[in-house]
Structure formats: C-alpha cells, structure tokens
C-alpha cells in the first residue's frame, strides 16, 4: 500500500465530507439529516483490493480516527474519540473475509460490501457512544440511531459504484499494483 497516497486521499475526503458534504445532505422529517460516508468508500475499496488484510485494517484505523477527530455532538455535549477507528477496523475485517464470495469489481457486489461496511462501522460507533452515555432516555434514542445508520448505509452504498470506478482509475496512487510474485510452491 502507498501510505502517502492513502493519507492525502483520506485528508481530501474528510475535507470534502466536512465542508461540501452538506450539499449531499438529505433532510428527512423522521430521521433528520442523512449524509453519505464518503470516507467509507475509500476504506471499502482498500478492503476489496488490498493484498494484505492487515494493511487494509491499518488504513481503515487511520480513516476511522480521522472521522472521530472531526465529529462531536449528537449524544452528549461531546462524543469520544476511538469508536469509529474500531468500527472501521471491524468492518474492514468483515469485508476482507467475505470479498471473495462475489465478483468484487462489479457494481452490485460493491453496493453490498459498502452497505455491510457502513452498517458495521457506524453500528459500532453508535453502540460504543451509547454505552458511554447510558441512561434510559439515551437507550430510547438508540433505535432511532440505528434507523439513521441503515439510511446512511443505503445512501452511502448507492454512491459506491461511481466512487469505486473513480478509485479504480487512481488505484496506483494508493495501492501497490505491480503484479504479485507467484508463490515458490506454485512454480512449475
């Protein structure tokens, strides 16, 4: 993995999400504003295309931490840092394990992988934040937050095919695309 490329691309995505992201916001009466997780697209792409699961998880940890550091509020006066980093690592591990079940370069499987990723990552985030806040009133809003996570996962996954197409074009910036060497035991 090309770490400099991952860091720069991650920074740009966080910047877009925190400034231009409002343009992509859908206001719903029931759930409030719903925005796609653009950073998740990069994490899903890395989980699908990276040769090493550990490297993909390391990149996911950094991207999740960037989201943690650029968001607060929502459950109390200030949310904690760390849950999204953990959520991204868990979601990357899950996607990495199931990526060979489907043709990962096709749009529909990519939509599925992005939805799974967002559900796990954001589900982990709201669960850990909710556990920290606690209280009966907080738990009453937990179901509502899950509905928001589902809506976010649907919205984000719908945008995954164009994002995946874009990342395929710039894959050499973030991934080592040189042909892999054949394992010595397979050389004939």
């Amino acid at each position: 993995m090309h770490w400099v490329g991952v860091i720069i691309l991650g920074y740009v995505l966080v910047l877009i999400q925190t400034s231009l992201g409002a343009v992509l916001t859908i206001d719903t009466r029931m759930l409030g504003p719903i925005r796609p997780d653009l950073v998740a697209h990069l994490a899903v792409f890395l989980a699908l295309q990276s040769r090493s699961g550990v490297e993909a998880a390391l990149a996911a940890w950094g991207l999740g931490l960037a989201l943690d550091l650029t968001s607060s509020g929502g459950m109390s006066d200030s949310t904690v840092v760390g849950p999204m980093a953990l959520g991204y690592v868990l979601a990357t591990a899950a996607v990495f394990r199931i990526r060979d079940l489907f043709y990962k370069d096709r749009p529909l499987p990519q939509v599925f992988f992005a939805a799974v990723f967002c559900l796990i990552a954001h589900g982990t985030w709201i669960t850990l934040q909710q556990l920290r806040v606690g209280g009966d009133e907080g738990m009453a809003g937990y179901g509502q937050l899950w509905l928001k996570v589902v809506a976010l996962a649907i919205y984000s996954s719908a945008l995954m095919p164009p994002a995946g197409w874009l990342y395929q074009r710039i894959a050499p910036v973030v991934l080592d695309t040189t042909p892999s060497r054949t394992h010595p035991s397979r050389k004939r």
Partner: protein
C-alpha cells in the same frame, strides 16, 4: 521499503502495530470526552483553512435550495411587509434616540457608582465564519474559524443575524425594503482551541439550556382549543408570566420542551427565549418559536412543545460569539 524497515524491529510487525492501535482506540474510547477534546483541538487546525471554501459553496447551495422551496408572496403580503418595515424603521429611530439618552445617563451614573460593581452585562462580539461541519451526521455541530486566540471560550453563546432580505431576493420583492436584523441564538461553544472552535447547534441531541417561554398572545383574551372544542379564557396576572423551561435539541431540526403544564396555555407562535440568569448570556435572547404543542400521554396535565429555531441553521455562515467581559458569576 516499509517492510524492510519494520523487519529490523522484530516487535513492530504490521500485526503488532494494528494490535497496538486498536488498544489505543479502546483506551481513548474508555477515557472519555476530556481526552477527545484535547485530541480534536490538536488536529482540527488542519481542516479549517481549506474547509472554508468548501463550506462557502455548500452554504450557498443550501440557501439556494431553501429559497426555491419557499412559497411566493402575494402582492398584498408584499404590501403588508412594506408597511411593517416602515413601522419598524420608525420604531428603530425612536429606540435609537432613547438609547442615546440611556448611554449618556449610564455614563454619568458610572462616574458616580462605577467603583462598586458593573451595572450591566458587558460583552464582546467575536465575528466568525462557519468553516466546516461534523463529519458524521449524528450530531449538529459546526466548526468556526475563531478560537481561544480571539477570546472564544467553552460555554460561550453563539448568535447569528437573520436577514429577511436574503429570502426576499428570491421572491422578487421590490428593492429598498428595510432589512430586519433580529439576532437569534444558534448554539454554544463546546470545544475551543487556539484558532478555531466547535459550535454545538441548538438542535443537537446533546444541547440543553434553561430557557423561558414568552407567550405572545393578546393580553386580554386567549383562545384555548381542546380536542375540537374551542373556548375563550381570560388571561390573569398568574397566567401571563414567562414560563421557565428546559429546552433540548431533538437531533434533527427542532428543539423540544417537555413537561410544560397545560395551565400555562402555551400556544404555537409563542417565543422561546434564553434566561437572563446565565453568565454567558444574561439577556433574554430569541431561541425559537413554538411550532406545535402536543399532550404528553404518560403525564396528563403536561404538554410537549416543538420549537422551530429562530435562525436558519441549514445555511449558517456568519456567526457572532458572545464573549462576556464582566466578572464571572455562577451559572444557575
């Protein structure tokens, strides 16, 4: 290259590195928001300068879409607005003259009693721009470009100016109408670092403020509608007092006030204002307008208020942080 470097340190393999980072994330999760504030303060500076341009574009787009969705005014409404503007302009002139007299009186009073204690709330207004929003959609927060270096401190209230002319441009209203500029509270500062601060909006799930409901009704009569049966009740001295309440954000686009006694007869269009006891904003300041009053099934005799924020939070761009310069007092 990286692999060969890590290979020299047997302990620091990618697997171990990942394990250490996961443990670190767990620790920061458990430690709590105090550490989170410090970490955010140490890193947010990287986003503010470049986020400004993007926020300008997104704010303009949001403002544009809200204008398209707005209803067009009829010529009669335009005429009414014009008349109201004229009345307000005259009122402003009257108050400006009174204010001048008041300032002169205050200056002479201060010469006499200035050594004893401050006579009124003194504050600085720090103008700031919204340069970003939270990266996750679960909170209603904004990042502003003024921080501790400009005197912004945690807990400071933040207001905006609501200019009706912004909306009128899209509605093709004749020019030269006076601009109404009431200020409305939009939130408060929850985190502040040297060159920026985090602003929690009044609609955020974690927002909570002591407020009052100021009932804007005819002082002589009030119409109470209960399940379709309308009845007229006369207001008394007891029922026309301001109603002390606790207002919270609903995590979407409104504020919620719970457990308000039906005896107070709070109705839509009543005002939600800040309380005058707060150190950071010891004035009655508009928070929002009561939009809906619904009964609370579990607690008969009490109602819940849905309050629409007075400020347009979707297209928030310029804000003013109120920095008290008076000696600190205890928050109620």
């Amino acid at each position: 290259m990286a692999r060969s470097r890590t290979a020299r340190i047997p302990f620091l393999t990618p697997n171990w590195l990942l394990a250490i980072l996961v443990v670190l994330a767990l620790i920061t999760t458990v430690v709590g928001p105090g550490l989170a504030r410090r970490l955010r303060g140490a890193t947010r500076w990287a986003l503010a300068p470049l986020g400004d341009a993007g926020t300008l574009v997104s704010t303009a787009a949001r403002k544009r879409t809200s204008q398209i969705a707005a209803e067009k005014l009829t010529p009669r409404q335009v005429e009414d607005l014009r008349r109201q503007n004229e009345q307000m302009r005259r009122t402003v002139q009257v108050f400006a003259r009174r204010f001048q007299r008041y300032r002169r009186a205050k200056a002479s009073t201060r010469r006499l009693y200035g050594q004893i204690e401050p006579l009124e709330f003194e504050f600085d207004l720090v103008a700031a721009r919204v340069v970003g929003t939270g990266s996750l959609p679960y909170g209603s927060t904004r990042m502003i470009n003024q921080g501790k270096a400009a005197g912004v401190q945690v807990g400071a209230r933040v207001t905006t100016r609501r200019l009706l002319t912004d909306r009128m441009k899209a509605l093709r209203i004749p020019p030269k109408l006076a601009a109404l500029a009431p200020q409305a509270m939009v939130g408060w500062v929850t985190e502040a670092w040297a060159l920026g601060a985090e602003l929690q909006l009044v609609t955020d799930d974690g927002f909570r403020i002591a407020a009052i409901v100021n009932r804007r009704v005819d002082q002589r009569t009030i119409k109470v509608i209960e399940r379709g049966n309308a009845s007229i009740q006369r207001l008394s001295r007891e029922t026309y007092e301001d109603v002390p309440v606790i207002a919270t954000g609903n995590g979407k686009d409104r504020m919620i006030v719970r457990d308000v006694s039906v005896d107070f007869n709070v109705r839509p269009d009543d005002l939600l204002l800040t309380r005058a006891e707060s150190y950071f904003l010891p004035e009655r300041f508009p928070l929002g307008i009561v939009e809906k009053v619904t009964p609370q099934p579990k607690t008969p005799g009490f109602v819940q208020l849905v309050v629409k924020p007075a400020a347009d939070l979707d297209a928030l761009r310029r804000v003013y942080v109120i920095v008290p310069t008076s000696p600190a007092r205890q928050e109620p």
